[in-house]
């Protein structure tokens, strides 16, 4: 118990723990749709694109959330639009937009030279700078994103499962696509500080993938993914504290370990079912 209670003496840890748990759950919630829509690369790219906006807003002297938010929304809409073009290919188009934005961020840092510590935190995540306002922001974003996803569960599920046909049944696919891009951008901006640009994609993808190994029902997958994301955010924070490593890698390593366990266990189960069913493999 002392191991659990001891870090609570520090305010940064208390704030960090709340933020990490919410960030893990929030990324997993949005990530479930990202994974099922085969958009993992968009999540990865968007986080890098927003980095450019974060640096630019720091240098211009405007609020981080405002700068990164505008940049993120613009990038998300641009990615969404470019991804619909068939000639370029969605992956290549995302690569162009997001790496260009990321490169712009690096270039601005090189010119200014005054962003070094924040730069490392933005890339790999850090709980040291988490303040009460950050807890408030991520809580608001988490509530707004969760409420939207719950309210629009059906059309979002239709769009995710059968995007070609959903609009025939009256689902406003274009508007819903744009809205989802906004939810994704908001999630990335709110969790960037704790998880880091380079590791957000992992937090978006790994918990849903673990949940997918465990269930064949979408609703259950959503719930399990959020549970796994939240628990790994919580566990990752303790690992970060005791092993003295950045919070982002700690959380993602926890998720990676859970994935390995789930993969082995479900693989073993499948083999057992096949044996019980009398399926012979050579």
């Amino acid at each position: 118990m002392e191991i659990l209670a001891d870090p609570f003496r520090f305010e940064f840890f208390r704030n960090g723990l709340v933020v990490a748990a919410i960030a893990g759950g929030l990324c997993a919630l949005v990530g479930t749709y990202v994974v099922q829509r085969n958009m993992s690369y968009i999540g990865h790219g968007l986080s890098h694109a927003i980095f450019g906006g974060a640096v630019a807003s720091f240098l211009v002297g405007i609020n981080f959330f405002l700068g990164a938010g505008v940049w993120g929304v613009a990038s998300a809409l641009m990615i969404n639009r470019v991804a619909r073009r068939r000639t370029i290919g969605a992956d290549a188009a995302i690569g162009v937009i997001t790496t260009a934005s990321f490169a712009l961020g690096i270039a601005l840092i090189s010119r200014s030279g005054g962003f070094t510590r924040n730069f490392e935190a933005a890339l790999f995540g850090s709980v040291l700078g988490v303040q009460a306002v950050d807890v408030f922001v991520i809580a608001i974003v988490a509530i707004a994103v969760s409420a939207t996803i719950v309210a629009l569960y059906r059309p979002l599920l239709f769009l995710t499962f059968d995007p070609e046909v959903a609009d025939v049944f009256g689902v406003p696919t274009g508007r819903l696509d744009a809205l989802f891009s906004l939810l994704l951008a908001a999630t990335i901006i709110a969790t960037m500080q704790i998880l880091g640009v380079t590791l957000i994609a992992a937090a978006l993808v790994i918990p849903p993938v673990i949940a997918r190994l465990l269930t064949d029902r979408f609703r259950t997958m959503l719930g399990l993914a959020v549970l796994i994301g939240t628990a790994s955010g919580f566990t990752g924070m303790y690992l970060s504290f005791y092993l003295d490593i950045s919070s982002g890698p700690a959380i993602v390593l926890t998720q990676g370990s859970l994935f390995a366990v789930a993969y082995i266990v479900t693989g073993g189960q499948r083999k057992r079912f096949r044996r019980l069913a009398g399926v012979v493999t050579h």
């Binding site: 068939r86 719950v150 569960y153 239709f158 499962f161 025939v168 049944f169 029902r217 979408f218």
Partner: protein, 266 residues
């Protein structure tokens, strides 16, 4: 052009292209309530595009598409386009099309009951909690037909609804479509199956980017039209009033040679 109020959809000289490739050219087609129509043509002839133009998910590049204000569409996609590894069960696929459009995660009792009834009517009620991948090809087709019916449509659009299914499923699907059209629902389906499907429906459209011929199967499915549509020679015989199309294989003996072999060449 003034839209005929009794029609569900009408396409007037409609064309559509992907990038620079024209896939549907100058197509005029009308769908009225209770109509049962098949669209036949080779792969790449524009059948799916024509369905999407009827559905309104594609807007014509030229020409006009008029749709009734009361139009409600149920769409059955090609099974090849379905993501069978998506984590979704049979009943939830059907419930997606529920016209209730309620907010939130939970489905209502009434819509659950209706989905359950539809699945039973289609003979797959016992599979409603299964994952869609666990079903046979015919059962999977029925799931998507149930989803289309769940929308309470007045127009059913079905893209290859009997491709790769057994004869029983094919007959069942056609019987369901007939009972729907008897109730005033229109149904338009694409198919490659000339004998098992097209010849048995009241209206056939032969399509190869443009409409080659349209009308009842008897006068429409004739060798010249089939050659222009498919680019292959076919022969026809009649069985109980239905045309039966027979491929004319390149290695098939010519009439002269057959006569010669029979000693009738003179």
């Amino acid at each position: 052009m003034t839209a005929d109020r009794s029609l569900l959809v009408s396409l007037d000289s409609v064309s559509y292209a992907y990038e620079e490739e024209l896939v549907v050219s100058d197509v005029t087609l009308e769908v009225a309530p209770g109509e049962l129509m098949s669209i036949v043509g080779p792969s790449g002839s524009g059948k799916t595009t024509l369905l999407k133009l009827l559905a309104g998910t594609l807007e014509p590049l030229s020409g006009h598409a008029n749709r009734s204000s009361t139009l409600k569409i149920g769409y059955v996609p090609q099974v090849e386009t379905v993501n069978w590894y998506f984590p979704i069960t049979v009943d939830e696929v059907v419930l997606l099309a529920s016209p209730a459009r309620r907010f939130g995660i939970r489905y209502g009792m009434e819509e659950r009951r209706r989905a359950h009834l539809l699945l039973h009517e289609l003979g797959i009620g016992h599979l409603e909690h299964r994952h869609i991948r666990e079903l046979s090809g015919g059962q999977q087709q029925r799931v998507f037909l149930a989803r289309a019916l769940m929308a309470e449509p007045n127009l059913l659009l079905l893209d290859e609804p009997v491709a790769g299914v057994d004869v029983k499923t094919r007959q069942d699907v056609l019987a369901i479509l007939r009972s729907q059209t008897d109730e005033g629902v229109a149904a338009v389906l694409t198919t490659h199956d000339l004998n098992g499907v097209a010849a048995h429906l009241p209206h056939v459209v032969c399509l190869n980017r443009t409409i080659i011929a349209t009308g009842p199967p008897g006068p429409t499915l004739v060798p010249d039209v089939l050659f222009e549509t498919f680019g292959a020679e076919m022969e026809l015989i009649e069985h109980h009033g239905h045309p039966i199309v027979i491929d004319k294989h390149p290695y098939q003996p010519s009439e002269d040679r057959t006569r010669s072999a029979d000693g009738n060449s003179g």
